[in-house]
Amino acid sequence: MFNSLSERLQDTFDKLRGKGKLTEADINVAMREIRMALLEADVNFRVVKDFVASCKEKCLTAEVLDSLTPAQNVVRIVLDQLTELLGTTESKLVLAQNRTPNVIMLVGLQGSGKTTAAAKLAYLLKGQGHSPLLAACDTHRPAAADQLATLGAEIGVPVYRGDGKDAVKVASESIHEAVDHLNDIVIVDTAGRLQIDEEMMQEAVAIKQAVRPDQILMVVDAMTGQDIVNVVQTFAERVDFDGVIMSKLDGDARGGGALSVRAVTGKPIKFVSMGEKPDSLEVFHPDRMAKRILGMGDVYGIIEQAQKVADQEQIDAAERMLREGFTMDDLLNQMQQIRKMGGLAKIISALPGGERAMAQQGGVDESSLGRIEAMIHSMTKEERARPKIINGQRRKRIAAGSGRSVQEVNQLLKQWGEMNKMMSKMRAATQGGSKKQRRQMQSMMRNMGMGGGMPGGMGGRGWGM
């Protein structure tokens, strides 16, 4: 019923891949699929028309049709076009050097996630060494200021609430507050408003005039449908924002709206918001987004995430594993890292073809990780270091201690055995090879360490008990 854009394109290209030489009719079939897929991904239909037309034109050149690998060429053209449309540069927040405090204002529809985004932005800027102040200028929604105050307290950022009645007054007072308390950035959270609500749009303009923001960011829900063009167009005309924060991208919405926003307003997407935690605001990378849309996987994102959680201790652990083999503690460690990175499903879906594999397997059972953890926790220190000593008696005890069956303990031990075998093969390889090869192997190990259990973690095989 509902196919994601990446699945659709993948199917199309699988079909094209089987062909040696493409005809115009083949290209038309592919373009029709791309059109439907983009529409289902909520890219505005006018944008889709332009996009497909320009892709088709490029695909119809002799260079593509007569080449030995036409399908790859079509993929490349679609990818390039998507990336170009999404903006070719990495967009960052531009702050004025000669003004203190800098002012960032957030606008958007109701429920798009402005208040949450304000807190996340404050957290990000605080991490960069700034001292932000949050201004609660949503005086319309009940308890919006309370929400911001709670979030501010959680991340340790002050919140200015004023009288909570006149949004313009609260906004301008917050600037004085920031000057008094030496805050170098003020983030102004405003009320959600419909673009056709004249009174509310005027309020937004009044706040803008009162605080003269250096940056106005519009928060756009990644799930917004075709109407996104009307919304961003009106906001661009009335308030004139500088960039977009795309929220709720941690769902399965393809965020086709990102394409539409760029195409219609030319404004860059600056950040994507990927979850509920304050650190889930990420810089927008157009190339990654385009690749993700095309089902080529957000490999960079995963590597970055892995780097964030991998510390020196774990690098040492990887080296020790190479020397001495793989213990149950290592397995436990890996699983905790997978958790830190957002769980198996998030990692797998970011890998090339991962979404399809997951759909075929009927999703990932995250709870199996918890069960394995429970079993490992039920082992003694000695058992964890040398799982070989675990005999029938011990198995029974571990099963009872973790509330699992003996069969499950057996399966865990079997999997550990297989991983250890793989590890010794690697050991042999690293000891034989040159220094450079060894380094490569070690870095591979580290990445393996993050995802070593992954292929088995899908569906009924391996960890998914």
Binding site: L39, L194, G225
Partner: protein
Amino acid sequence: MGFFDRLKSGLSRSREAINEIFYMGGEVDEDFWEDLEDTLVMGDMGGELAMRVTDDLREQAARENLNRADQLRDALAKRLAQEFRTADRDPFEDVPSCVLFVGINGAGKTTTVGKLAGRARGEGKSCLIGGADTFRAAAIEQLEVWGTRAGVDVITRERGADPASVCYDVVEEAEKRGTQLVLIDTAGRLHTSSDLMRELAKVVNVTRKRCTSMPVTVVLVIDATTGQNGLAQAKEFNDALDLDGLIVTKLDGTAKGGIALAISDQLGLPIYRIGVGESIDDLETFDALDFCRALVGEGK
């Protein structure tokens, strides 16, 4: 301004778009059908449904010899209205009744609960609000403001408490007081977050099990601006919770709410109310034909 006018003004953008093609030349040709399909897609109806509706209408046009664009307008409205299911029971009128509101973040659950509570009090029904959104910062405070405005008590617990226990409490209190309408607000969550969906399933199960004195209705609140992802949302929520129906909010913007049609068509869920404005009275009973007539731009 009556309901129809209000809805019509809210839906005017899509009506204009469709009017454009109906008035263009007035003759039905290939371009007409292509434009029609595009326009339906533009209303967030989804490519597949738009294609099916267009094909059906095309067949009907050939069969009944409808060759002028304006003739097809009424046929289209009726055809679209067929996609909607009608509700067997109105959970906000047939009291006693207990209604749980679920949906993704920012769909408008809390506001909808507030409005419905105000409405119920206005009609002289006794009402109780359950604040089971113990996760989002200040969600309880927001609900309490609505409760005070409506003169309805809010039963809740501190932030971070088990939401299922809140439901238990509120049902117990309602039974003690003999309350007619119980409205329970839950925390917004993305349908892709499996543990949060399981938590919600527990909340719903506890309520269904505990609440024996009145029927429990689980309503998905969906934002009219939502695109095709709305279908995935509705499907996941339905799989996890066995939904009873929908409430579509924010139809007062320029969004066409075509996703409501797609959901209703795919999952066979009735629409209980639609939100066409900011004030308490702007939460209206849904009428499929009115909705579709407004959508295709036909007069009264």
